[in-house]
């Protein structure tokens, strides 16, 4: 089994107010596409309730950095009480959504994802030695990249949501 290390543990973001659900989703999608991640949607739930729509989205895009290590960012998004509203901006009527967003970010670094060093106990031992002493510098660099990517995504989403504060 591959070694998965949690670098970012439950970084949270909450927002309540105006936003566009579809634009929000596409912004996240575009960020991952631009950064070279492959798309992966674990769960996509949408319920229409009397108080507004409820959307739950779990995505876990991943990117192979080398043939030994890959980055996975797990994003759990919950949007509740979403209603369609019409607001006036710059004398134009714009259709937006109003609701609450709760997001949780997790960043993982997965090594030996092809399980090449799992077959025998000797291989596992060699892999552990290699990871701890020989490859340490590279692993630290990959961990920093995970943290940087998650924080950048967090900042991008915050900036996007701040655009709707008018």
């Amino acid at each position: 089994m591959a070694e998965r290390e949690k670098i970012i543990d439950e970084l949270r973001l909450s927002y309540e107010g105006l936003f566009d659900v579809n634009e929000f989703y596409l912004t996240i999608d575009k960020w991952f596409r631009d950064k070279g991640y492959d798309k992966r949607e674990l769960k996509n739930i949408e319920y229409v309730k009397p108080g507004g729509k409820f959307i739950e989205l779990w995505i876990m895009p991943w990117k192979k950095i080398t043939d030994y290590a890959k980055i996975e960012i797990k994003l759990r998004i919950q949007m509740s009480d979403i209603k369609e509203v019409e607001v006036e901006k710059d004398k134009h009527k714009v259709k937006l959504n109003q609701g609450k967003i709760q997001m949780v970010f997790d960043g993982f670094l997965t090594t030996d994802y092809e399980n090449k060093w799992e077959g025998k106990p000797t291989y596992v031992f060699l892999r552990t030695l290699f990871d701890k002493f020989i490859y340490k510098g590279y692993t630290a660099r990959f961990q920093a990249q995970v943290a940087e990517d998650v924080n950048h995504l967090h900042t991008t989403i915050k900036s996007f949501l701040n655009l709707y504060r008018f």
Binding site: N22, L26, D29, E41, K43, N44, E46, I55
Partner: protein, 174 residues
Amino acid sequence: MTDYDLPQEILKFKGIFDMDLLYRSMRDWLTRRGYYFEEPTYKNKPNPMGGVEDEITWNCWRKETDYFKFWITVDFHTWEMKTIEVIEEGKKKKMNQARLTIYFNSKVETDYQHRWDKTPFLIWLNNIYEKYIIKPEIDNIYTDKLYYYVLKLQNIAKECFKMGTKGSEYGDVW
């Protein structure tokens, strides 16, 4: 013969939608892309509490090359489905109200013609071929291509449901 299973995608929706449009759109998408379409399961159970419970399974496959075959399995499960009338753009339209879950499973099958499993030597040779020679093609081309096709199919369903999370920036991939 090896099967490379791809991650499962799950879509859940509760609300008003057009089941007929969903069914036709997804089936047409598959048949236009050359997938052979089979529906091995269609269960329809009336619920004494109201509504109908449906279970539908689609098995679709397409020969990508003489060595690779793409499989897409779609499982629909609906609960409490009722037909209702809504007014859309001033016209009355029959729609469905239900709770629905769709599971998208897919896999890439290799050596579907069983040319390489006739003798132990050929099986061993095929293992070497798949593990070391064409592994990059399997990982970067075939499994990747099928996965993004399934995401496109999933997006068809999202468009039918008019979900907020419809659309994709990966639409031009494959």
